[in-house]
């Protein structure tokens, strides 16, 4: 059952809004400025709108619909109390230009969150301004560059292992750096020797994800950080996988200099179909002067915004960041406490290892080390013509959201599973049973995989056609 576009529901004269009568004289703009019409905009009733988006929603799969083991995305349960907190009128209704003495609740929350994230990560200071992980990366690498400049150096290269997220090289490039890829090698983790080999006095930084995108802890990280530091460089940590380490080990203690957090991963804020998230950044002492401005500070029990930061890299966006997301993360931290966060990391790692143990005889495991919060298989042992994509689509028929596929790039046909701690053993068992059943189907009835999914609103879509002749905007038929 197709749901029409909202534009196709439009009937001239229908309306879905109401306004109080205008209580002041109407004003006409000069003709040169005046807009007569918004051609194409829909005219629908409130009922039309409600049914339209309700129906659209039923074609989506969310965390509350079932297991969503998308690797690298930490799709943990999004607590409902956080949503209620974010909707308190005193929170959502506070204007960003409210005088500081009349927004102490908002400022206080942000200050406490900065402190808590610093404690969790082992960094000395945290900015909450960046709007997402990649935005945090950008702030982080800007700070690295600003620090080098302040030292009077202008290094040009950034080292990035092949297990990195794609945003890492993109960010480095956006800051004017040349990207030097490093191979992580057979073990899946960086060796100190490799880093030493690449390190020279044109290297501004190493960007590393820990645990990395194979779910492996970078065991040599302390030594690697020492090597980079001795070479005059800094180490950037992509914090996307912090969910494996809370209360276990702190990136700041490991020798990293900068790290972004993904509040929408580690701290349970909803993913929203692609956002909004929030990407705070933690730094060590020496980078504090370069943090974006403003920063929330506490002065004699009053919270205020400090704009007077002459060495700051400046502003990453308007206002103070995605406050609504910070608020949810703070509610999560209050709920969990320190012991609860550690327990979350432990159970996340337990869950991933359990899946690994249940599937490793059937699915090829390209890296043998003990992995942490996620596990990466390949499709090497999948029978016949069936590949990772087919497996993923077949999982949809079984009622699951597929794992991340074809990432990380170092694994051919990668299947990257991150269960998170909020899933129960029963859920994992049923999922593993499905994975094992699909492996058998690949052998006995490969067409079940190749033609999947079968129960969705649409079948596999022609992405090539979409890209070849892009249709990005609805135009009514003439």
């Amino acid at each position: 059952l197709r749901e029409k576009l909202i534009f196709e529901h439009s009937v001239a004269g229908r309306q879905g809004y109401s306004l109080p009568a205008l209580d002041v004289p109407a004003v006409e703009l000069p003709e040169a400025l005046n807009r007569e019409d918004i051609v194409g905009f829909p005219e629908v009733s409130e009922v039309d709108v409600v049914r339209h988006f309700t129906r659209l929603s039923t074609w989506n799969y969310g965390l509350d619909s079932g297991f969503y083991p998308l690797g690298s995305c930490t799709m943990k349960y999004n607590p409902k109390v956080n949503e209620a907190a974010a909707r308190l009128p005193g929170m959502s209704g506070c204007h960003p230009h409210t005088p500081e003495h009349l927004s102490q609740g908002a400022l206080g929350l942000m200050f406490e969150l900065q402190q808590a994230l610093a404690e969790i990560s082992g960094f000395d200071a945290v900015t909450l301004q960046p709007a997402a992980g990649a935005h945090g990366e950008l702030a982080g690498v800007q700070m690295i560059r600003a620090w080098h400049q302040a030292q009077g150096r202008s290094r040009k290269k950034i080292l990035i292992p092949d297990t990195a997220h794609g945003t890492n090289p993109a960010t480095a490039a956006l800051c004017g750096y040349q990207v030097v890829p490093i191979a992580s090698g057979e073990s899946g983790i960086l060796s100190a020797a490799t880093v030493a080999e690449y390190m020279d006095d044109d290297v501004a930084a190493l960007m590393v994800t820990n645990p990395n995108t194979l779910g492996l802890f970078e065991s040599n990280i302390r030594t690697i950080c020492d090597i980079v530091h001795q070479g005059g460089g800094l180490v950037y940590c992509d914090g996307a996988n912090l969910n494996a380490l809370m209360g276990i080990a702190r990136p700041g203690d490991l020798g990293m200099d900068v790290m972004h957090f993904n509040l929408h991963k580690t701290f349970s804020t909803p993913h929203g179909g692609g956002g909004p998230g929030a990407g705070p950044v933690g730094v060590t002492e020496k980078l504090i002067p370069f943090l974006p401005k403003p920063l929330v500070v506490s002065d004699a029990g009053q919270y205020r915004l400090n704009f007077d930061r002459p060495q700051s890299i400046g502003r990453m966006r308007s206002f103070y960041g995605n406050f609504g997301i910070m608020l949810r993360a703070w509610a999560y931290i209050l709920t969990m406490g320190g012991a609860g966060l550690k327990h979350a990391s432990e159970m996340a790692v337990l869950n991933a290892n359990y899946i690994r143990a249940r599937l490793e005889d059937t699915y090829h495991l390209p890296y043998p080390n003990r992995s942490l919060h996620e596990v990466v298989f390949s499709d090497k042992q999948l029978a016949g013509d069936c590949h990772t994509l087919d497996l993923a689509k077949r999982l949809i028929d079984y009622g699951y959201h597929p794992p991340t596929i074809y990432f990380p790039l170092v694994v051919h046909g990668a299947i990257m599973i991150e269960p998170t701690e909020t899933e129960s053993k029963e859920v994992l068992d049923e999922f593993c049973d499905a994975m094992l059943a699909i492996a058998r189907e690949a052998d006995s009835h490969p067409e079940l995989l190749l033609q999947a999914p079968g129960l969705t609103a649409v079948g596999r879509l022609d992405e090539t056609a979409a890209a070849r002749k892009p249709q990005l905007c609805y135009k009514p038929a003439e």
């Binding site: 799969y61 209704g93 204007h95 082992g122 802890f217 990453m316 790692v349 609103a457």
Partner: protein, 449 residues
């Protein structure tokens, strides 16, 4: 722990399957030396009722329209938010899903983005819109980067009347990319000085960046700017911090803009202390492949059914990594949905009516305040729903007096520009009744007396 389902028994069984003795054994690859040997120092865990109570305690320390009469704008706007929006975005299929990587089970998100892209095109008068960016300021920065890529030039003329936070954000993004940012001054009208523009423009110029309306609420004349820019092969980038204005003022596309960015918070999102909102980004067809951000396109499945997919991903960093058009790898999904629902509800007539009310109410306030003894309106250009007022006496004292009457009268501009120490940016929306405006006017009069 209500979010973590593991019982002791579950843990035991799972460890047995894995073949280790304890949870600690799962962390063998984390060297002892780097493990944290103490508990995290955070507040004790709270029950749900305690968390809510704490959040209410904090919320009660913030001024809002429930406690004060507010005339603050300057990049975030108090518009009425129809209840339907929250009802719909609270459906877990929307807000607990992630980026639509698997289109077959993400058609809800994808179709909504496609509708959003279409609405943005219709509203801005442009050909293509992306699936959104972080906010107006960062979208503006991305527009400047795109203009540099598209023109292969490095000189940008930024209107001094552009929102200062947009200007600062552009500066941060351009910092290490050899892009030169020059100020484009404004006239006593509050509009861009076209004579100065003529002097500054040259064939090195990549783009002219103008607010529309600008930071002072003044509506720029875009057509001559576009003409001048195009003459030297430069682009006109228009930044719209208050897009409700587009219900009453001509679209930037119609007037010749090449890239239109802006902040969509006005479209159904609460002010939320400044975020999250949504940055919109629209451009001409010919530049689609150099646009940053995600795009959703229509296509078909094997049975010919229409469906929507993320497309032109070759511009993105997970394929081209350091050669990507930007490092952005998400969009503001849920905020996009809010804007889409808002614009659908208001529609063709409703957005124009809301805009008409903003225009009329702000003008009513501007006339009344401008007529007060000691007060003046420094900029003569036409304004939409905010305007600058020059106030007599000590502005901080004045504002405090109004606060005591539960009125937040406006944004003092000295924070952005020390030369504006007597200036206040006052915003009036459809949420402010005539009665509220009259009270403001009286209060200003009383406070200045």
């Amino acid at each position: 722990m209500r979010y973590i389902p593991h019982t002791d028994d579950d843990v035991r069984q799972m460890l047995a399957t894995i073949g280790v003795d304890s949870v600690t054994d799962l962390f063998v690859e984390v060297p002892e030396a780097v493990r944290l040997d103490r508990p995290l120092e955070l507040p004790e865990p709270m029950s749900e009722s305690q968390v809510l109570a704490e959040m209410k305690r904090l919320a009660a320390q913030n001024a809002t329209t429930e406690t004060h009469t507010i005339f603050l704008g300057g990049g975030a706007y108090n518009h009425f938010i129809p209840t339907v929006i929250d009802q719909l975005i609270s459906r877990s299929e929307f807000y607990t899903a992630y980026t639509p990587y698997q289109p077959e089970i993400s058609q809800g998100t994808l179709q909504a983005i496609y509708e959003y892209q279409t609405l943005i095109c219709q509203l801005t008068g442009m050909d293509v819109s992306n699936a959104s960016m972080y906010d107006g300021a960062s979208a503006c920065a991305e527009a400047v980067l795109m203009a540099a890529r598209a023109t292969r030039r490095k000189k940008m003329l930024l209107a001094a009347s552009l929102h200062p936070e947009y200007r600062e954000t552009v500066a941060t993004y351009c910092r290490h990319l050899d892009i030169e940012l020059l100020d484009l001054p404004y006239l006593p009208s509050g509009r861009i000085d076209q004579a100065a523009l003529a002097t500054l423009l040259d064939t090195e110029t990549a783009a002219v960046v103008a607010g529309y309306p600008n930071f002072f609420g003044v509506i720029e004349e875009l057509a001559p700017l576009a003409a001048a820019a195009h003459q030297v092969g430069a682009l006109l980038v228009t930044a719209v911090a208050e897009p409700v204005a587009l219900g009453q003022i001509k679209s930037p596309g119609e007037l010749g803009a090449d890239i239109v960015v802006g902040e969509g918070q006005s479209f159904g999102m609460p002010v939320s202390y400044g975020g999250p909102g949504v940055g919109f980004f629209a451009a001409r067809q010919k530049t689609v492949r150099s646009m940053p951000g995600r795009l959703v396109g229509a296509t078909r499945d094997k049975d010919g059914r229409t469906g929507y997919v993320l497309t032109l991903a070759t511009r993105e960093q997970h394929i081209r990594r350091e050669k990507a058009t930007s490092n952005i790898c998400s969009n503001q999904g849920l905020c996009v949905l809010m804007a889409t629902i808002y614009l659908s509800l208001l529609g063709r007539r409703g957005l124009r009516e809301v805009a008409a009310q903003n225009l009329a109410k702000a003008e009513y306030a501007k006339q009344a305040i401008g007529a007060l003894p000691g007060f003046s309106i420094p900029f003569s250009g036409p304004t939409f729903n905010e305007f600058v007022v020059e106030v007599p006496g000590d502005i901080d004292v004045l504002l405090l007096k109004l606060e005591q009457q539960q009125i937040l009268a406006g944004l003092p501009l000295k924070r952005y520009d020390a030369t504006m120490e007597q200036r206040l940016l006052i915003c009036v929306t459809e949420q402010n009744s005539r009665e509220q405006i009259d009270i403001l006017v009286e209060a200003l009069k009383g406070a200045a007396a």
